[in-house]
Subunit: 341 residues, 2 copies
């Protein structure tokens, strides 16, 4: 099906000559060819224009030859489609001028027809598939319902999402209503993405690690698991939870094809907690890409040996930072391609 | 020695009728009597005036009767004494206008005579001891060298302290020089605090959990351990590392009297990783103090049962938030006092 199907084989747990590699946020702000596009078109124009989104999606592949592409888009297209206003403020990031704080706010949140509201994403997928020309698979993604709630309630990024947690802990019924609306929308959205051609989907739970293990079960995992259950028979689902080491054992018992882990867990401990059956993905500290290329290569090689080359997808532990030198990103990818067992 | 020595007995691992309780950041911004003082005096005036610092230190004790007091002060008095300018910007927090980024910046950092530069802290301790009148012990504290470096290099609070990590990963020799200067100053500072009368010292490693396990060893733990080794024969040392679950086993093998843990680890897992010999402190999510008082009491009781009443100090998993209702803080403390094994 694909000239290079290493990524899909690793998701199935097959024996591979070397692990596949891609980088979270690989399509974006550290690439000069992306910055050129950004100078001309604002954030949502880039997301909404299939020619731009697909071009940005394949830029890192052209330069470095990763084993999978990930669609250029944003997790906040979901609340946008749900009738929650989302802006991108330069220098601030996501900005939701009318955050959800009470029943009245919640009443205006809709479960949209994603084939209408988010058709631009499906068109971006089709355009990307064309540019990729059956070379490598394409990953689609969504934020976890909890992570989306964090932005919807807080109204912007935050160190501790205190307002989001206050909402959940003081108005749990409203919180669960919002979480279920997001979950229902996300399932429909990801199913459309699969129809449009993505080969796997990743759920990003960027803020799950801000919850206690009990609260994570209540406000995050049960909704992620709904999504996994709804998608599992159509495509491999990868669940990435930043800071969610404490739930790895339970996550490994789900129908997810793979689990993403961040850099605060030793590979051996991740394997121990997740068991040896599930594929793991991660986990170099994105800041470590600031080290000299020779040191990056050493860290990557050591990381592969620690995870083991099979049932493993090399990645960062979170998104690549904007200030990473190009040759350092290259060293990361090259180290994987040069790996010898 | 003290009318209530539960806290010191728990640190020694003795059998107690109930665990002691205090709250990180208990002296401060959620208390109306503190807010009154804040309206009249700026941050560093409050820290530098023994009458104010000691009054703030005992305010929560008067209201709730915790089993230990912690001196009102700030971890950033250390870089200030080391010739690094530190301001508190309202609405922003710590602000260091001349951050440390290169050799030239580092050259102006001194290891000060703490008996001169930080004598105001020692006077605040003496004044607090007088107000406490041998009722309960007084805790002194310092930031971990890594956490102090984070502010010195970043220049302010941050979601990921990217500039601090960049400094460490691209200029490791400078980073280690700065870390050692901070460590040497901190040891002298804490020894003076002990002379002035504190009964225990806690090291706050608020940002250790942003490092990978290998980087945590290199840039944080080895310096914390130097401090523990230097102080261990004088007072009990408590090491609190937010997000540092991955290092608990090694921390438990140090000479620390107790380890603080945050809310992302289950009590049973913390005990398993730390072994059963060392006292643990923690770990309710500070945001959970927004739940209704009856639910807070249930969570606290369950937490004590999970940690076990001995070798345990009830606390939050990080500092109390400013927006916590007074009756909720009371429910937290009362639940511990009402605990029956």
């Amino acid at each position: 099906m694909y000239k290079n199907d290493l990524y899909l084989r690793a998701l199935k747990g097959e024996i591979v000559e070397r692990p596949p590699v891609w980088m979270m946020r690989q399509a974006g702000r550290y690439l000069p060819e992306f910055i050129k596009i950004r100078e001309k078109y604002d954030f949502f124009t880039r997301c909404r224009t299939p020619e731009l989104a697909s071009e940005i999606t394949v830029q890192p592949i052209r330069r470095y030859g990763m084993d999978a592409a990930i669609l250029f888009s944003d997790i906040l297209v979901i609340p946008q489609a749900m009738n929650i206003e989302v802006e991108m403020k330069p220098g601030v990031g996501p900005w939701l001028p009318n955050p959800i704080r009470n029943q009245k706010d919640l009443d205006r949140v809709i479960v949209p027809d994603v084939t209408v509201e988010l058709d631009y994403v499906m068109n971006a997928i089709k355009a990307s598939k064309e540019l990729l020309n059956n070379e490598i698979p394409l990953i689609g993604f969504a934020g976890s319902p909890w992570t989306i709630l964090c932005y919807c309630v807080q109204g912007q990024g935050s160190k501790n999402f205190d307002k989001a947690k206050e909402f959940c802990f003081t108005q749990p019924i409203l919180a669960h209503t919002l979480l279920q609306k997001i979950t229902t929308t996300t399932i429909a959205y990801l199913k459309e993405k699969v129809k449009a051609g993505v080969d796997a989907v990743q759920i990003f739970d960027s803020w799950g690690g801000m919850l206690s293990p009990a609260d994570y079960q209540e406000f995050s995992w049960q909704y992620i698991n709904q999504i996994i259950e709804a998608l599992k028979d159509e495509v491999p689902v990868i669940a990435f939870g930043k800071g969610c080491w404490f739930a790895l054992e339970e996550m490994a018992n789900s129908k997810a094809a793979a689990l993403g882990v961040d850099w605060t867990i030793k590979p051996q401990i991740a394997r121990k907690l997740a068991g040896n059956k599930i594929t793991l993905q991660g986990n170099m500290d994105p800041s470590r890409l600031l080290s000299p290329p020779s040191q990056i290569k050493k860290i990557v090689t050591e990381m592969i040996r620690s995870f083991g080359k099979d049932k493993y997808i090399v990645n960062l532990g979170h998104g690549i930072l904007p200030n990473i030198p190009l040759e350092n990103a290259k060293a990361f990818i090259d180290a994987v391609k040069e790996f010898e067992a």
